[in-house]
């Protein structure tokens, strides 16, 4: 009987698409979405810095330089982001590291995306023909100079589309930070629903995530096509 009730059209609209609650929720959800964007941007920014460093270490000829990067990448790609966030927020305080939820969320997202970005950069660097490195080195450039002036500028072009995709994934994954009490979009979505027993906040939050991710996915497709043409 309860199931039948859910399928009644009037009931559905009232529960999931309620205009009254929708308008009431919207400012709260938009405010929370700002936090989602902030989390994702900070995560991506530091993720890129960490990822670039890890990718360069990962490609080193010295085992002692390579090993920590391999360990890092395996650790953060091989464990769930949810576990990483909870570890940082709930477990680290016992080691004397106390972070605010938002700080823990940023650290977790940055460390996690750093591991994925490292692999994106590694693939990008390795996609540059080895003749480029040889040409640079044969002109007397050091390995570091060749990387900086010849390899990385070309690799950056290659990695822009996958980096954009990674950012989309990160933005969605930032919702996991709700579990460690970061008051971002997913957190606010649940909080509003449980306060009012109306589910329109779920619909609205889903729509807001789409509004944020779809243009980015489109941008990624566009860049992929455009950069391919340039590269021929």
């Amino acid at each position: 009987m309860a199931i039948l009730a859910v399928f009644a059209p009037g009931e559905i609209i009232d529960k999931y698409f309620n205009l009254h609650y929708g308008l009431q929720y919207l400012p709260h959800l938009l405010y929370a979405a700002r936090l989602t964007i902030l989390l994702s941007l900070v995560g991506e920014f530091f993720g890129i810095i960490i990822g670039l460093a890890m990718a360069l270490m990962r490609l080193s000829h010295h085992r002692l330089v390579r090993a920590p990067a391999v360990f890092y990448i395996n650790l953060f790609r091989g464990t769930p982001l949810l576990v990483q966030l909870m570890f940082i927020y709930f477990a680290l305080p016992f080691a004397g590291v106390n972070l605010e939820p938002i700080q823990a969320g940023m650290v977790g997202l940055a460390l996690n995306s750093g591991a994925y970005v490292a692999e994106i950069f590694r693939a990008g660097i390795q996609s540059i023909h080895r003749g480029q490195m040889e040409a640079a080195r044969s002109l007397g450039m050091s390995h570091a100079q060749a990387m900086r002036y010849v390899i990385l500028p070309q690799a950056f072009r290659v990695v822009i589309p996958p980096l954009t995709n990674e950012f989309v994934a990160l933005l969605k994954d930032s919702s996991l930070a709700s579990v460690i009490l970061v008051q971002e979009l997913a957190y606010q979505m649940r909080a509003l629903a449980s306060a009012t027993y109306n589910l329109t906040s779920y619909t609205e939050a889903a729509a807001l995530y789409l509004i944020m991710t779809l243009p980015l996915s489109k941008l990624s497709d566009y860049l992929e096509k455009k950069l391919k043409v340039v590269k021929r």
Binding site: E134, A135, A136, S138, L139, G140, M141, Q145, V150
Partner: protein, 256 residues
């Protein structure tokens, strides 16, 4: 004994610009160079010919340590560069190399391709480098392409830019690794002409090539390599007209 050391050379006078002594190189179990000894005098043009897989390119790439020799010595202007502690980045500035696949930097203009290394490696001022770039591009007939990107140039033009780029470092030796093999036939001549001019100007050159006409006409000495060893060497007229070894004859009969 002549002493061809230039004023900018800090070390002792030397007889040979490049000396390769008992050079061996293995890739895994496969020995590509089986003890090669080669001495090149200043201003000498040496062409290395031989079937593919004979180790010619590997030999050339060992001369500037793009490949690390398994054993043996490479001595550039009297300095053994296979010894530990040698600043290979400095040595490589004296040894220019041009590749079969051009390897121009596609994200940079022709001018930037030429000026990048002298500015960053030698710390020469930008203006001086740009002037020198113009001068060298004029010599290879491409001054009007200075602001073009490599993608927009023909293979022959790209290869001439690559030669100019190597010359920007003012090298004492130039290595050419099958530089015309990737070119359409009608573009080969313009590259060979540039190389002839360079040879006429007194540049020391080691040229790995399949262009027998070029080897015969331009080189002072021809080296025939097969299966990782130098089979025969001598002046071009002797190698091409009266080769002593059966393997040399067999190879030449196939390519000429």
């Amino acid at each position: 004994m002549s002493s061809p050391a230039r004023p900018d050379n800090a070390h002792a006078p030397f007889d040979y610009m490049v000396e390769v002594v008992d050079l061996r190189k293995s890739f895994g179990d496969h020995e590509v160079l089986k003890g090669v000894t080669l001495r090149v005098r200043p201003s000498e043009v040496v062409c290395v010919i031989g079937p593919s897989g004979s180790g010619k390119s590997t030999l050339l790439r060992c001369v500037n340590l793009l490949e690390q020799p398994t054993s043996g010595h490479v001595i550039i202007e009297g300095v053994d560069i296979t010894q530990a502690g040698v600043d290979i980045n400095r040595i490589r500035q004296k040894v220019g190399i041009v590749f079969q696949s051009f390897n121009l930097f596609p994200h940079l203009t022709v001018e930037q391709n030429l000026t990048l290394a002298p500015m960053k490696v030698q710390g020469r001022p930008r203006e001086e480098c740009v002037n020198r770039a113009h001068e060298l591009l004029r010599r290879v007939g491409l001054e009007d392409k200075i602001h073009a990107y490599p993608d927009s140039l023909s293979g022959g033009q790209q290869q001439r830019v690559a030669i100019a780029r190597a010359l920007m470092m003012d090298p004492d030796v130039m290595l050419f690794d099958e530089v015309t093999s990737a070119l359409d036939p009608e573009l080969v001549k313009e590259v060979l002409d540039t190389m002839k001019e360079l040879a006429a100007g007194g540049m020391t050159m080691i040229v790995v090539t399949h262009e027998m006409g070029f080897a015969r006409e331009v080189s002072d000495r021809v080296i025939f390599m097969d299966e990782g060893v130098i089979v025969e060497e001598g002046p071009p007229e002797k190698i091409f007209s009266a080769p002593e070894k059966e393997r040399t004859r067999a190879f030449l009969s196939r390519v000429l």
